[in-house]
Symmetry: C2
C-alpha cells in the first residue's frame, strides 16, 4: 500500500505525499514541474516548495532516486534496490527506456578494481533516437 511506504519510514502521512507517490506509480520518471502539473490536473494544488521538500524527504528515505537525464533539472523515479537498471533516453521525445545488463555491471566492477576504486553508485545513460522518432524523421531531420 502506498500509505505504508510512507509511514514505514516514520514519515507523516499527508495528502500531498500520497498524491506524489501515486504520480510515480503512473509515470516512472518525473521532474518537479511534471509532478506539479499532474497534481494540478487532479485538483491537488501543491506549492513548489512542498514538492521539493517531499522529493528530498523521499530521496533521503530511499523511496525514490534522483537521476540527471536532463542537464538542468532533476528527474526522479521510485527506488527499487532489487532491480537496478540503467536508461536509454530519446533526445527527440524524451522517452525513457530502462534496461539491465549484467555483463556491463561486471565490467564496471573490474574497472573499479583496476583503478582501486570502490563504486558506490553509477549512472549509465544512453542518449539517442528511439524507433518511433526514427520513423517520424527517417532521414534524421
Amino acid at each position: 500500500m502506498n500509505s505504508d511506504i510512507i509511514q514505514n519510514k516514520g514519515l507523516k502521512l499527508t495528502k500531498h505525499k500520497l498524491a506524489i507517490l501515486e504520480a510515480f506509480k503512473l509515470h516512472k520518471h518525473l521532474d518537479a514541474h511534471q509532478i506539479n502539473t499532474i497534481l494540478n490536473k487532479k485538483g491537488n494544488v501543491v506549492s513548489a516548495a512542498t514538492i521539493y521538500r517531499v522529493l528530498a524527504s523521499f530521496e533521503a528515505n530511499g523511496i525514490i532516486v534522483r537521476h540527471n537525464f536532463k542537464e538542468d533539472q532533476a528527474v526522479y523515479e521510485l527506488a527499487d534496490p532489487s532491480h537496478h537498471h540503467d536508461h536509454l533516453i530519446c533526445t527527440k521525445c524524451n522517452k525513457v527506456i530502462e534496461f539491465y545488463n549484467c555483463q556491463i555491471e561486471i565490467l564496471q566492477e573490474e574497472i573499479a578494481k583496476k583503478n582501486k576504486f570502490e563504486i558506490i553508485n553509477h549512472h549509465l545513460n544512453l542518449y539517442g533516437i528511439c524507433s518511433d522518432c526514427k520513423k517520424t524523421h527517417p532521414a534524421g531531420l
Copy 2:
C-alpha cells in the same frame, strides 16, 4: 597550436579564448567557476558572461564537451573524438579518472539494437571512493 584550434573553426582569436583553452590543457575537467579562478590567478580578469559564452561557442564547435558529473554544475573537457572515454568520479575529493572499455561499448550497441535505438551519445559515470580517500578514511567514515 592552440590558436589554430580556435581559428580553424572560424572563431575570432581573442586573449580570453586562448587563456580558457590553455586552462583545459593544464586541467582536464573544469567548470565555469574553476576557469574563472584559474584565469584570475594568471591576472586574466574575465567576466562570467564571457566564460559561459566561450564555453558555449567551444562546445558548439566541438572543441570541448560538457559533462554532468555534478548535479548542479556543468563540467567541460577538451573534445577528442578519436579517444572516447568514460569516468570514475571520487565523491570525496572529486578526483576524475578516465577509462575506456571496449566491451562495454559493444554491449551498449547491442542494447541499443535490441531496443531499436540509435545511440548518439552516452555517459557512463562511476561514482565511488578512490584509493587515496580510502586510506584517509579506512573505515569509510
